[in-house]
Symmetry: C2
Amino acid sequence: MKSTLLSRRDLDFLLYEWLRVDELTKRQRFAEHSRDTFDGVLDLSEELAEKYFAPHNKKSDANEPTFDGTRVVVIDEVREAIEAFAQADLIGASMDEALGGAQLPVCVAQAAFAYVSAANVSTSGYLMLTIANANLIAKFGDDEQIDSFVKPMLAGRFSGTMALSETQAGSSLADIVTRAEPRDDGSYRLFGSKMWISGAEHELTDNIVNLVLAKIPGGPAGTKGISLFVVPKYLVGADGSIGERNDVTLAGLNHKMGQRGISNTVLNFGEGVHTPNGEAGAVGYLVGEPHRGLMYMFHMMNEARLAVGMGAVSLGYTGYLKSVEYARIRAQGRLVKDSSTPQVPIVDHADVKRMLLAQKSYVEGGLALGLYCTKLIDLQRTAESAEEAEHVTDLLDILVPVAKSWPSQWCLEANSLAIQVHGGYGYTREYDVEQHYRDNRLNPIHEGTHGIQSLDLLGRKVTQRDGASIAELGRAVAATIAQGTAAGGEAAELAALLDSSWQRLVEVTTAMFATGDAEATLANSAIYLEAFGHVVMAWIWLEQFIVAENADEDFSSDFYSGKRQAARYFFRYELPRTAPQLDLLEALDRTTLEMRSAWF
Amino acid sequence: MKSTLLSRRDLDFLLYEWLRVDELTKRQRFAEHSRDTFDGVLDLSEELAEKYFAPHNKKSDANEPTFDGTRVVVIDEVREAIEAFAQADLIGASMDEALGGAQLPVCVAQAAFAYVSAANVSTSGYLMLTIANANLIAKFGDDEQIDSFVKPMLAGRFSGTMALSETQAGSSLADIVTRAEPRDDGSYRLFGSKMWISGAEHELTDNIVNLVLAKIPGGPAGTKGISLFVVPKYLVGADGSIGERNDVTLAGLNHKMGQRGISNTVLNFGEGVHTPNGEAGAVGYLVGEPHRGLMYMFHMMNEARLAVGMGAVSLGYTGYLKSVEYARIRAQGRLVKDSSTPQVPIVDHADVKRMLLAQKSYVEGGLALGLYCTKLIDLQRTAESAEEAEHVTDLLDILVPVAKSWPSQWCLEANSLAIQVHGGYGYTREYDVEQHYRDNRLNPIHEGTHGIQSLDLLGRKVTQRDGASIAELGRAVAATIAQGTAAGGEAAELAALLDSSWQRLVEVTTAMFATGDAEATLANSAIYLEAFGHVVMAWIWLEQFIVAENADEDFSSDFYSGKRQAARYFFRYELPRTAPQLDLLEALDRTTLEMRSAWF
């Protein structure tokens, strides 16, 4: 039976036919690998996803973590899945061999991870946070921190969290007040409270490694005074043994609409419930240097944001495949008005095909963009010259807000369409798609809301380094257009459409900044992000179209025909949405700015 | 404290300043009423909503009906709310006095009902179905049926359901197979199974009146052979006493994403669990004549579809008000880059204002359209000439698919934006908005999916009676444009935009039908519905703008300023979306038609 998690055929197309990730093995970091090892990890992840993650997806939704006053109880299947993933050595898939990682390209590791995330976004969330946490300490922590925390996380014995937000400071990290007081032995004592901490306070692993942003008293104000600390649930002895309970305690569990299987908590640090080593405060260890915490976080932010985008894609993808399967077997209505003829499968109705095509264009497009960007991470990490690194960074920087927000918006829309294809059944918990929709609704919020991504794009990435990022993207787009034009025929037609959209985007961008009216320029940043995203996706779809056009003997196969049709759909139904958006932006519309609170 | 269910100020504006519903009292049917009685019923409904419906909205979401093997258990608060509503004589608000109704205009009754629906869409769902059921029997049933079933429903002693769909026939009623066998005494015995029956098999009322579509053996094939039956849960004696259990039994409960407080069931008829009067089959009573069941249903469909649209509006509206309230008190971030200044309420951020303005334009626009259409029902019901009735029917017919689907789409989007304004909090069940979003997701599905509405609009309403419906709408739109043009200034500018959009819509519609290619014309009916809907809403917003412009002394008040700004928002941000949609339609794009099942 074909998997309804992801399409392996599509993954193979994107990774090998399009991105040619097997060529990464020419780089020293990946020299030990080959397409075989890449395929192996994809196979393995799919197998684990089907065997350990998918089966309890509904169960963990219906049985969210509960606090019995002492312990947070999580259903057993979550631990089993985490252990299976760890035992398969997949936690460290993209990490250095020296640390015990498999040193795979990030794009291959992320493609593999998409299987578990499609199967169970909550359970895989514990793993995603652990991986992000381990990456951060591995990059900026010292050897002792790596031994004490990173290695047990790679082995699946410890898990990780990211504790950034506070109740009064969600999107505004400058306003955090958790403080870290230095002690003579070089450690710190933390006092404060953190909000929205996923994957905290459970007993799935022997220990939990909380990475916490806090301020060292006397440091600079605002974001410049933020430092990063490791604050484990249990202290760890020099020999790696689990020691005393640290003063990190649960203030409460949040109860979410979706992603219910992963604990989401308010954590108190140094509230006095425990007194590790007989002293007040939660013991924390500074990562790197003081006051550089936010910089460290930002350094990992590209990867974290891509991971969120990929999570949104994976949920959209599995919903798409399930709605295709449903539409093929569900008979309803007729194409001719004769009730004596049998009903036809709903996949034959034009409107259902529209809903499936839209989903296909969103989820395959989103996956393509995600993999493209994660490959850029690999190229950045293994750049063979400063110049290459610079080009790759420029391109990556401007694509990240899109790769985070676009799938969060459109793969959520895909889930809504998957429900619609299922009709009333899709609205019930007896089917899977309503959960995907609920689960996916988180993605436009966490790891920087849609609004934050739009300010990052328009207020920062577009102008940074004198516009180097958008120029780099322009060159990449132009190269694709040139390729399409050279190919002639339909590819050239699509290339012309992309060319005109891209030129219009650049023209509008230039016009906005030329006014010097920063307030009006940024007022509609969210609209800019949407228009920008759709133009970028048209480029990604033209890329795919060209590869599908060049498929020799299989040109007329279902797979390539579908790819081409989805590309056509995107250019005909989706890209034109950007025209009125760009007109609005060019006019520097002040409707929102002029609105007043009292008028609502 | 201001209500966060609906804005009474807005209701007053729409009902009195715009629609002038007080003038309906000049008509004989409403002669006993006055603005005072209208206001009274609005006050009363708001009071009941706050006191009996809102408080258990979360509780009934968390405690959906369960089947213990014998009874379906629903939390007590549901019964209390239903009883309070019935005791206030609101079930029969718009029904004839002769039946015990209050004979209020439907638009006033629906405005009042929007309060309970905003407060608790599930509990109010039992009432909505009872009202629809009672209306249908009152219209087409005989005196005995009215005495036995309608009057107890108005008193709140009985409740009603609508049993149309079957598992193999959701949107395709031609394919139902439930059969009704005639008996010598004039009654029927029903055998079959019905799906998606809301409000069935509970013990909230003494009896449940199921209205069931079934086929009498030997009748015509397809929809022409469908008849309508009353099939009560318990037989009713001539004296109104509750008699023997009928053979209507619960086959199962569906478990939905939202609207969890109202039971949704699979019902079996004549399965043999009970043998009323010692015989097999569920006892049913034919309503009206044989084979006219679908016609009767269609007769009530306008009202039912408007009710769904109004339900979507009410959920959107309460989410909007709650997100405005939240945005005013939640401090986060700054307008200037100086972390030593205090954080500002998020309502001051342009992007948050955009999200609130969008919601305002959707929910106030949706409410306006809903009330406009329900007033048409009143005008239709009290038409003073055949000509008036014809004009009103023409207009109503073409607006109903919009008034059902537009709020189902955009007030759901409003709920998504309400979540986004709340940030992470909005994603938790500790706040209200996530439930509204889940509850509202049903509305694009039931009572005719979005796709079904679009086929109704483009395949039926646009062409019916030689285009009389669209011509009637065109006259109404033209009148508003003329008014705006005459007013000059900004109203004239908006009128010109509407004029050009309307002309373009008509031009595209004409071009599509001129090709004679029905398949391609209907292939993108869903896109047509969306474009059509946005043009209609621009008209509705221009209507409101003109009234707000004419407010004399209060012209500069917050309320009128807000109305004008929301209208501007709609014309600048929303209406332009239609341009690429209409281009696509004009091109009779065949992308979806040419897609093949195997290509997905």
